[in-house]
Symmetry: C2
Subunit: 282 residues, 2 copies
Amino acid sequence: MPPPPPPPSQPQTPHDLRLACRNGTHTTTTSLSSPTVQCNLLVLPSRYAPSFTQLCARNPVSCPLLYSTFPGSKTAPPLAVGANLATDLPRYNVYRDGKLVAERAEVEEEWTADHVGFLIGCSYSFEWALSAAGFPPKHTLCVPVKCVPMFRTAVPLAPAGEFTGGCLVVSMRAYRERDVAEVRRITRAFRRQHGEPVAWGWAGARMLGIEEKVRKGLVDFGEWVGIDGEVGEVPVFWGCGVTPQVAVMESGIQGVVISHVPGCMFVTDVPVEEEEGPNPKL
Amino acid sequence: MPPPPPPPSQPQTPHDLRLACRNGTHTTTTSLSSPTVQCNLLVLPSRYAPSFTQLCARNPVSCPLLYSTFPGSKTAPPLAVGANLATDLPRYNVYRDGKLVAERAEVEEEWTADHVGFLIGCSYSFEWALSAAGFPPKHTLCVPVKCVPMFRTAVPLAPAGEFTGGCLVVSMRAYRERDVAEVRRITRAFRRQHGEPVAWGWAGARMLGIEEKVRKGLVDFGEWVGIDGEVGEVPVFWGCGVTPQVAVMESGIQGVVISHVPGCMFVTDVPVEEEEGPNPKL
């Protein structure tokens, strides 16, 4: 009798992947083989939902709102059949009165009947398209894969109600300068997944107020991946769904807030290529 | 026989006002008695229309797109019956290959069959609501009325296609610090007219990178109106529809581009109070 085949390196469907996250056997959503839309999660007391919705509307590049739940509901049926938003992400951050108080594998208890969940587009959704076009992000080529590097910029968000004092957070991928136009073109199509970059090159880093941090590799979130100037690489920056998480923390709102841990996203059933078609599902 | 009554100081309906602008007998749209939605105008060669639409979608606070024409059309029937966008604004700027080449009272000749007109929300639309609530903007109280002061900030726009290198432009109104919360609340409702302020106070001016210009009254557009620190006034800043005009100029796109002159807006028939109701007309 032949030996059984080796276990696959990652679950094969979004549903299987969510179950593996739920069971604790899968711990990252970087570089998935199944290219479906991934989302940032933010869970707020319901009284803040109107202002947060407005914050997203005013800052759609960094905070593209794809879905929000009814208070107390932990599901998102149009995006993911059978999913539980309180268990199906690899890791969660729990904040109380604006301070991080715990990291959790699930948040069934913290997510009360008064909480509203918001799902926000994520640049992990378009990395598949970059790779398919011959521009794989370097962090996806690391063994094991790394989380994309992220930086808080000096660019202020447009405030909304209680949510003041926020700043744009960006993800960074290094590309050769001559490839930037094509990389811009590829991600431009993913309008609700941060779309085209917000800045590029060292002049772009300066404009965002983060040149020194990027030159030194001092990430605010995620993991550093080098920029190889000798082969002509420069940093390219995209809006990042950690932005609303930082905005919520800066606002100092009261009560329990829950988010994903950066790089540990909610994986939907929606194929990325459907998202920007003539009849987008989201 | 009694003498005829004095002529009214300004036309009484939006239609009359547009005709007066067309005939050259009215030259500003600041502080109108009839509170209908006012719009910024930008007219571009049609090949740039998709990227410009995307620029607005990515920067909705400064560039809230309300309407765009079909190529060659100079009308906006849902907003203004019988209006001609090429004649009914008080003044126009004409640019060629990114450079200002003329100021005109009408642009019938410059607006070709290949041009697309874009109408963008304007903060003049909510000044009526501020005045009604007891917070009249100071520039509307000047005799004669002044144009609102405007500043180019250091905050970069999210680029879109050809439109790179733009920055947020803001309008400024001075209010007492203790009134800022109420002023924010009032304009928050006007979501497609720039909505609530983007920043306020001297810390806000610093965040936008314009503290020195504001302290010295060095406006980039419009007219300076003082800030009276002795009565507790601070600057309050709103997104401004001059932003897309600057973005288009910065991009260096080729061909003829037309815009309104700052402060000389397109006046629609749409009552401001309808704009944000349950069935907005725009």
